[in-house]
């Protein structure tokens, strides 16, 4: 029987860019799993948690844990949300008896998308095709909290025609940081400019990342400064879901 995978869509993908959700679902199905999308999910609660509102974070954590009760795995196309579910949910209920156990049992089933594909399903080949140079930006939570570094690169390397390049400051933050990006916009943008200079030094045709937050921030800044470099979620490239215009692109702008 196929494992039952609950797709934690993430609020940004749900609202801003459903094509990433469909790409993720396709990749999970291609890895031999059945995908379900519980309607009881909204947001992982990280914005509240990082704004210092533990109460709301706890309520959203419980809501999410219970919405995915019948899933063998919970997979999110975001290292940041996956880290919230996997590491911070148990921390939120520390010392709270059965709820803590429930959060821990849930956390063990949670994976970021590329980590799930490459390390749980041992799937490192894709049938996608993309001709061009791609630079991958590691979102901080996935990289440092979950240790996701090789999985997206192994998968991207299997895409026919794709040349993967590394930026010199490969572990640098893009400056998004959730609400940080709107509370301290000048600092956030200055960090983006530095990250963009680093990424573009590799002369890429496309920027990928595993988190839509970072991508909206980078694409939004690139677009504002007149740089046509496109940005896409890694799942779109891996699933060959390239019909939608790139992030911050206009309808009809399909390339690449």
């Amino acid at each position: 029987m196929q494992p039952r995978v609950g797709l934690f869509v993430t609020c940004l993908v749900d609202l801003m860019r459903p094509s990433i959700g469909f790409a993720a679902a396709r990749l999970i199905e291609d890895a031999g799993c059945a995908v379900t999308v519980p309607t009881g999910q909204t947001c992982c609660g990280q914005p509240a948690y990082n704004a210092g509102d533990r109460k709301t974070a706890r309520e959203l954590a419980l809501q999410t844990i219970r919405a995915f009760g019948d899933c063998d795995f919970v997979v999110a196309p975001s290292g940041s949300c996956a880290a919230m579910l996997r590491l911070h949910y148990p921390a939120l209920f520390k010392g709270q008896g059965e709820t803590e156990l429930e959060a821990k049992a849930f956390a063990e089933r949670v994976h970021e998308l590329t980590d799930f594909l490459a390390n749980v399903r041992r799937k490192t080949e894709t049938s996608a095709r993309f001709v061009g140079r791609v630079v991958h930006h590691d979102a901080c939570a996935g990289l440092r909290e979950l240790g996701i570094k090789n999985a997206p690169r192994r998968l991207l390397s299997s895409v026919a025609g794709l040349e993967l390049v590394e930026a010199p400051e490969t572990t640098a933050c893009c400056g998004f940081g959730g609400l940080f990006s709107v509370k301290y916009p000048e600092v956030s943008t200055a960090i983006a400019d530095r990250r963009i200079a680093d990424l573009t030094s590799t002369a890429p045709d496309l920027v990928t990342a595993g988190d839509l937050g970072c991508l909206m921030h980078l694409a939004g800044r690139l677009h504002r400064t007149g740089n046509p470099l496109p940005c896409r979620h890694v799942a779109e490239v891996l699933a060959g879901e390239m019909a939608a215009p790139p992030i911050a692109g206009r309808a009809g702008d399909t390339a690449p």
């Binding site: 469909f22 909204t42 919405a67 200055a190 530095r194 911050a248």
Partner: protein, 474 residues
């Protein structure tokens, strides 16, 4: 110094517009950051050492009373006098008392962040004493009437040209047309000027990197030897250290020293590592006649009590500053008080009150680089989050708090959330799709002032998925 933490946003904006500062900070990635990486690479057990260092700090902090009194006993047995200071006022008063009792006029200072914390120089000067900083970077910021902008590189914000201009202005007694075109010439001039002052100083005040309970010694690490001159040349030496500087044994200190310099400057060891134990003994060829050790609390016990004790593991290496994208963008002065960067964002609210400094723990993207490099594994993001929890009611604009409350209400009600987002996103998409982005959005100026906001694709994923489940093609 008067805190400027409440104007963090303006400070940051000003700093971002300062091209000279950007150039100075631009040296960090290839400088201290690369040097630390190289030093770490030479020590295969570095990660294990970090864990050992953390464990030493945690053990000490959990048994602080035991080790503090053990240290005091040993130090007194070696002839030092111990002074306990609960706060800045007590510390300043006891130091001033020692200085005045000895008829001191000139004070040599070694580098000490705690002396910045208690604003010692200004106090001593107000009593008519003359104080000179003997660490080159500290000397530079002192003659400019500035404060350090980095824990270990106080003048990191300055260029060589700045230093030359300051020396020409401040050392007006020297030949005007002397050659100061190289760093070597500047260092030589500073050495010559400071050496005379050392010889004239009545009192030396230094910090301590560690206080060793086993031996009653203060350990001082420097690269310039100025700490040793401050400690040994004047007749009286005062060590100013906070309660968290205690380590149980010399072996523990050795472990901490192995991670300290590597994390700070990428050196295996600093040029000077001195163990200072009591005053000069009869058989000693030199050393101070009197040795006083002022042990300062200044809110640290309260930090231990209130769930912020992990911050007291800090050994002041500055690695979290060097690796922080925010510090790299705005430098240290923007933080508005003594301690900058991630550790400053955790310490400053404890010293000044979180209502005075709520921006500091808030102004972090939580990228986690600081925790990754901290030699004693301080959970800096968790501690910043703790401050965010304690300042939530007052942090951010009223509009931001209202938006967060409305979002929280809706997100906890999935049916309402999905209905509301369906409507909102459909509207936003209809408005934004022709261009693909918004250049301006009401209530989102924080984003759109410097970035375009990508238009949503149209319908929500949940909507699409529900249709797929019902067999409707996408």
């Amino acid at each position: 110094m008067t805190p400027a933490t409440r104007t963090f946003r303006e400070n940051a904006r000003t700093a971002l517009g300062d091209a000279k500062l950007a150039k100075a900070l631009g040296g960090l990635p290839t400088g201290l950051v690369a040097q630390r990486a190289a030093a770490k690479a030479r020590v295969p057990e570095f990660e294990t050492l970090r864990t050992a260092a953390r464990d030493i700090r945690d053990h000490t902090l959990s048994n602080l009373d035991v080790y503090l009194s053990a240290f005091a006993d040993k130090a007194e047995a070696a002839g030092a006098r111990i002074h306990w200071a609960a706060d800045a006022v007590e510390a300043r008063t006891v130091i001033a008392h020692i200085a005045l009792k000895n008829g001191a006029r000139l004070v040599a200072k070694g580098k000490s962040m705690i002396s910045e914390e208690i604003a010692l120089n200004a106090y001593l000067e107000s009593l008519g004493l003359e104080v000179f900083e003997s660490d080159l970077g500290e000397y530079l910021v002192q003659i400019r009437n500035e404060t350090p902008s980095h824990i270990i590189v106080p003048a990191i914000h300055l260029s060589r040209d700045d230093v030359e201009a300051d020396f020409r202005r401040h050392h007006a007694h020297l030949v005007p047309d002397r050659d100061l075109s190289t760093a070597e010439a500047l260092v030589a001039e500073a050495r010559a000027v400071l050496r005379e002052r050392f010889l004239a100083a009545d009192i030396g005040i230094t910090g301590a990197n560690f206080l060793v309970a086993e031996t009653g010694s203060a350990i001082l690490v420097t690269n310039e030897g100025n700490g040793d001159l401050s400690a040994h040349l004047p007749k009286t030496h005062i060590v100013l250290a906070s309660i968290d500087k205690i380590v149980p044994t010399l072996a523990d200190a050795a472990t901490l020293l192995r991670v300290l310099a590597r994390s700070a400057t990428g050196q295996d060891m600093t040029a000077y590592t001195s163990l200072l134990t009591g005053p000069r003994l009869q058989a000693d060829p030199d050393g101070p006649g009197e040795c006083h050790i002022v042990i300062l609390d200044n809110g640290r016990s309260e930090m231990l009590r209130s769930g912020l004790g992990e911050a007291l593991r800090c050994i002041r290496c500055g690695a979290c500053l060097n690796h922080c994208p925010v510090y790299n963008a705005i430098g240290g002065h923007a933080y508005g008080w003594v301690y900058a960067g991630p550790i400053g964002a955790v310490l400053t609210p404890a010293f000044l009150g979180v209502d005075q400094a709520s921006d500091l723990p808030s102004a972090s993207s939580f990228c986690g680089k600081c925790e990754e490099v901290c030699p004693v594994r301080i959970p800096l993001t968790s501690l910043m989050r703790t401050w965010r929890e304690r300042s939530r009611a007052t942090s951010g604009s009223a509009l931001q708090r209202m938006a967060l409350a409305a979002w929280s209400f809706t997100a906890r009600r999935p049916r309402l959330y999905h209905a509301a987002t369906r409507l909102g996103i459909a509207m936003l998409s209809a408005l934004g799709r022709p261009r693909g982005v918004f250049r301006r959005l009401p209530f989102a100026r924080g984003w759109t002032a410097s970035r375009d906001f990508p238009a949503p694709q149209g319908r929500t994923f949940q909507q699409h998925w529900a249709e797929r489940e019902r067999g409707v093609p996408r």
